[in-house]
Symmetry: C2
Subunit: 480 residues, 2 copies
């Protein structure tokens, strides 16, 4: 982590603005304008990491970001990787201060389907108090407030902690180069806590701390039968139909009432704690909201658990896709030669992905009839994540969030999987505070992605309150 | 059925040959040459009925055929329909003779995939004693011997029955206009028996009479859940996954050992007769042949029945295709908004397609959980067909076939469905003799379709023997 400055060249679409010095009378108005203006610049880069046609845009975005964090008074460097660069920026280290690592990503999802956007995805528009653009919520609009908070503290000469920003460019396409990078720079990235704003608030205005996520095991089941698709009249009844067999095999994974039917699957599942049940029951989420949001005829899942318990703290099995035989219009009376299903299992603490994958494989191998050929293809996996919600860091975050938003904290978990959490834990031995700023209707990964302008502003205060709170408790308290 | 002559114009690629008069010393050699030459002309028409780009080729083929049957001494006419024309030709009716209707089709399947043909599909080639071309077996090479047999009898002035040829141009695309046509011309098409050569021989050189086919009921099950594909992490466990539900619903249709699990499904299934079991066990077909032909790891089907019994005389259920969610490479962790399965049931005597469809619908409606939306889309259906194999006509066919091929007759059924049989039965009240001439490896509907030249020749004798045998038994015998 050298102190080298930003690399030369690159696409920096805005000229530098004069450095602010000291307090200003119209502070708030100017701040909102500045951060909004910067977010506009930031989202104009079509930094789609998963599509090589956008490579130069991704790189230009990294250059812009590197220049921007440098302007905030941080030492910045753009590190090349085997994929897209990682931007690292740090404050001048001072002893006897805690170090906070703020992680984010400057890459975005593809904008498709384009025809569903009401305004061009990379031309930011303000609508109903929100910035509409790809990347506005995920993750550009959530990172900028941290940068502005740190910049303001530096300008006022009162940054209370050491800060390291790590902003990668491959989060939307697998983060393949993050772990090797962290390992290579392990010593220089030592820190006391990581902070990520890349998740959601349980409701607008309700400060939200995320203390657990689910894990995942993905795989594909492929069944093979005849060499070619056969006529279902001439051959039907002679050999096993791989699609028929797939239906049976997949349905053997789950009972009709939504429980997973693989022996041993629930052995390490940590029960939902009574305090969690009570807490979540009081959150501003009701089943009608979910029904309206999904459009499903009814809610459905494992009996004995509320909706939030089911998506946050219970494992699930979902077929992600079927492929077999004829998929055109009308009928085609064939006995298909093969059939496959892509499946994702969501895991909860303390399930282990390797162990669960072995159980799934054992079940499939045992259950699959010999009349078809079974191939199991492993796809990615990730561990579930759970931290104490009453650690000193968590309590510092609680105080900072409640002070910022003026409402009691919502302690939540998430149903998705954030592999970066485990990477930070494994490589840097550090826990992460997940304090997301997006709302449920921010359409992350979807057309018309948006981010509330008020959260740009509140996010700056949140960052400042958080860093102050983290600085204020004694190192001893950290060991509780 | 007027006596109008063939319509003018059209594509007739061969000039007329001199009418043969009286016996010839090199009779056999000349005959083979002639029929082979005519088959070459006939298959050069790319008469693909299912693809409108071939419309003029289909029509030109109908013109050629009309001219050819007229030249054989028959009254011929090309009848326009809402689709492709139907060619009808008839001998001059004589009283106190039985009337035989010979059905065939001059249209063919598309030649795709073109890259798998070893020679151009519409440029006939002789290889290993076979004519290789699209339509050579299905159905051009099977119809021509009947025409040559009839022509020879007319030339020799000893045609023993009245003959009506009905050759349609839409068999490969649904025969939509055949039934209305037969209804319109019901009186003119009255006959005693129908003959169709559009099926296979159990083995080369083994004369084969097909006395039963299976029926079919096709449908599509569509399950709907959320409005859009959902993130399997954020939403998994909240609402029912239509793909998971589809696997369960489809597997509820069949037991693990291959029996259909729909209540009442087997009620009208006619048991395989002991004489059929015995007969079929002696046919030159063994399980190794089937294994090699399909490439499946093992043969599989309903317990307690032989392979032939399962495909000829037992009902089956085959998923023809699944469509749901993500079908690209790698994983995509979604909970799909919908899932569908195309399914064909093959029926056997005396199952009724309407009744079976109602049972299937009842089962699906009862079994499908309310957590997903069920839509059942009806596709086509067809009745199973079974005639006595010891009727006077069947016995006449047996004598003719055994005389032609010099071997005992194989009495078989077929697993597929031939809707024309039911149409002939319903409209003309007539049974059909199914005496196919293609071999199992003739690659019908596939690249490198072919037809053995020896069966062109034997087919002419077969036609003559058959007409003689049909003429020879007394009308009284028909009533047995």
């Amino acid at each position: 982590m050298s102190g080298r400055s930003v690399s030369e060249g690159g696409s920096i679409p805005r000229s530098r603005e004069p450095r602010r010095t000291g307090p200003k009378p119209c502070y708030t108005v100017i701040l909102v304008d500045e951060i909004l203006s910067d977010l506009f610049s930031y989202v104009r880069f079509a930094s789609v990491s998963g599509d090589s046609r956008y490579k130069s845009e991704v790189n230009a975005c990294a250059d812009w970001l590197t220049a921007r964090v440098e302007r905030a008074g941080l030492e910045a460097k753009k590190y090349p990787t085997a994929g897209h660069p990682i931007v690292v920026a740090r404050s001048r280290p001072q002893k006897n201060r805690k170090t906070v690592l703020i992680y984010g990503h400057y890459d975005v999802q593809p904008p498709d389907p384009l025809e569903l956007w009401e305004s061009p995805p990379f031309e930011p528009t303000v609508k109903d108090g929100r910035v509409v653009a790809r990347g506005s919520a995920d993750n550009k609009g959530q990172l900028l407030p941290h940068l502005f908070g740190v910049e303001r503290a530096i300008n006022q000469n009162n940054l209370p902690v050491n800060i390291i920003f790590v902003v990668e460019g491959e989060e939307e396409s697998g983060s393949d180069n993050l772990e090797p990078f962290l390992k290579e720079h392990r010593d220089a990235l030592q820190c006391d806590i990581a902070v990520i704003s890349d998740s959601g608030m349980i409701a607008p205005g309700v400060p939200t701390l995320l203390y657990g996520t689910r894990g995942v095991v993905c795989l594909e089941i492929r069944l093979g039968g005849p060499n070619v698709d056969l006529h279902s009249g001439i051959f039907g009844g002679l050999v096993a139909n791989p699609a028929n067999a797939l239906a049976r095999l997949v349905s053997s994974l789950q009972t009709a009432d939504g429980k997973i039917a693989i022996p041993g699957f629930y052995e390490r599942v940590r029960p939902v704690e009574p305090w969690e049940r009570e807490l979540w029951a009081g959150l501003p989420k009701n089943d009608n909201d979910w029904l309206e949001m999904t459009g499903s005829p009814v809610l459905f899942g494992e009996a004995g658990f509320s909706s939030l318990e089911r998506i946050w703290a219970r494992p699930t099995m979902d077929v992600n896709g079927f492929v077999s035989g004829y998929s055109g219009e009308g009928p085609k009376t064939i006995l298909p030669s093969k059939a496959s299903a892509k499946i994702s299992f969501r895991l909860v603490p303390d399930q282990d992905p390797d162990e669960i994958r072995a159980l799934i494989r054992e079940h499939l191998n045992k259950t699959c009839p010999t009349s078809v050929r079974l191939e199991i293809v492993d796809h990615h996996q990730g561990r579930p994540y759970l931290v104490r919600s009453d650690s000193p860091f968590a309590l510092a975050a609680k105080r900072a969030l409640e002070a910022t938003f003026g409402k009691p904290l919502a302690l939540v978990r998430a149903g998705g999987t954030l592999p970066v959490l485990q990477v930070l834990k494994d490589v840097l031995r550090v826990d992460t505070l997940l304090i997301g700023l997006e709302w449920m209707d921010c359409r992350v990964h979807s057309p018309n992605e948006n981010f509330p302008i008020e959260n740009l502003h509140l996010g700056v205060s949140m960052n400042q309150n958080l860093l102050t709170e983290i600085a204020s408790f004694s190192p001893k308290a950290r060991m509780k």
